[in-house]
Symmetry: C2
Amino acid sequence: MPQKGKPTGRRSETTKAAILAAARQHFAASGYERATIRIIAADAGIDPAMVMRYFGNKEKLFAAAAEFDLRLPDLAAVPRGTVGSVLVGHFLDRWESDDTLQALLRAAVSYKVAVTRLRAVFATQVMPAVAPLCKDRATAATRIGLVATQMLGMALCRYVLRLPPVVSLDRAAVIRWLAPTIQRYLTAGP
Amino acid sequence: MPQKGKPTGRRSETTKAAILAAARQHFAASGYERATIRIIAADAGIDPAMVMRYFGNKEKLFAAAAEFDLRLPDLAAVPRGTVGSVLVGHFLDRWESDDTLQALLRAAVSYKVAVTRLRAVFATQVMPAVAPLCKDRATAATRIGLVATQMLGMALCRYVLRLPPVVSLDRAAVIRWLAPTIQRYLTAGP
DNA sequence: CGTATATGTCAACGGCTGTTGGCCATTACG
DNA sequence: CGTAATGGCCAACAGCCGTTGACATATACG
C-alpha cells in the first residue's frame, strides 16, 4: 500500500492535490470561465485529460476546489465587547491565507453553482456560529446578513476590485474601523 | 435630416439604442464573458454583424454600455446629520433603477476593463462629491473607501449574491441600519 | 429616375473551449 | 518474470466564440 488508501494507485494523490492547488489559484485569479482546464493542467504540470479522469468535468473540479472551512472560532469564549474585532481579524486571516474564498467570490458573480455554494457557507457556517450571540432569535438572521454585507464588501474592495484607499489600509486599521460596525449590527437595538 | 444629426443615416440611432439596452441587460445578468454578442444581438432583434458595425468590437460595446453617471446629489445642501441616510437612499435608488451598475460590478470581477472603469467612477464621481464633507484632507480617501466597502457590500449581497436575509430587508430598514455606519465612517474620529 | 449610401442579412473563418478515446510507460503483484 | 492495472500523453471531436467580408435591400438625394 503506497500512500493513503482510497485508490489502490501509486502517486495519484500528489497529482490530484497539484491540480486542486492550481485550480484554486486560477479560479481565484480569473473567475470560473477564464480559468481554463488547459491552463490549470499546464500549471499543475500535467495533461488536461488527467483533470477529467480525476474530477469528471469542470463543474466537479470547481466543486472540489471550492470546498472549504471558514474555521470560525468559538465565539462564546471571547469577551462580549471584543467579538467585533475578533470576527474582523479572523476574516482577514482566512481571506489572506486561503485562495478558496476569493475563488468562491469571483466565480459566484457569474456562476450559479458558486453562488449556491457561497449561500451554503453563509447558512451552514456563519449563521450557526454567530447566531448564539444575538439575544432575540427574530432579528438574528438580519443582523448576520448585515455583517456579511460589511465583511464581503471589504473583501470585494480590498482583494478583488483593489480600490487604492482600501488596499492601503493596514490590518490594524481595518479592524479599528470595521469592528464597531460589526459590533453594532450584532448587538445594537433594532 | 431624419432624426438627430450625428450619422446622416435614417434609423441607426434606434437600433444602436436597442443594442445598448440589450447589452446592459445581459452584462448585468450574466457578466462579461457569458453575455455573448450573438445573444445580445438576438435580444435586440438584429444580426450580430450589426453590433460590430456600430461598436467595433465587444470591448468597445462594453465600454459604451458601461458608461454611466452616479448622479450624486449636492451633499453640501443636506443637513449634517442626515448625510448618511441621503447617501444610502440615493445608492439604493441608482442601483435599482439602472442595470449599468450591476453590469459594471458583475463584469469587474473578471474583466480588467470593467474594474478599471469602476475605479474611475469611484475616483471621479464618488471622491469629489463626498470629500468636501470630510474635515481633514488626510483621512478623506480612507473614509470614502470605507463607505465604498459598505455600499458595494450591500449591493453585492442584495443584488448579486441574493443572500436571503439581505434581500428581504425593505428599503427603510436598509437605510436605518446602514446610515449610522456611513455617517460614522465620514465623520467619526480617527 | 438613377445612383450612392446607409441598413441589414448570410455564410464562413480561425481560434479556443470542454471533453473523449486510444496509445505508451511505469509500477505493483502473482 | 509476466501480467494486469495504473498514471500519463496525444490527437481529435463537436460546439461556441468574436469577427469578417460579400451580398441584398431600402432609403435619400442629384
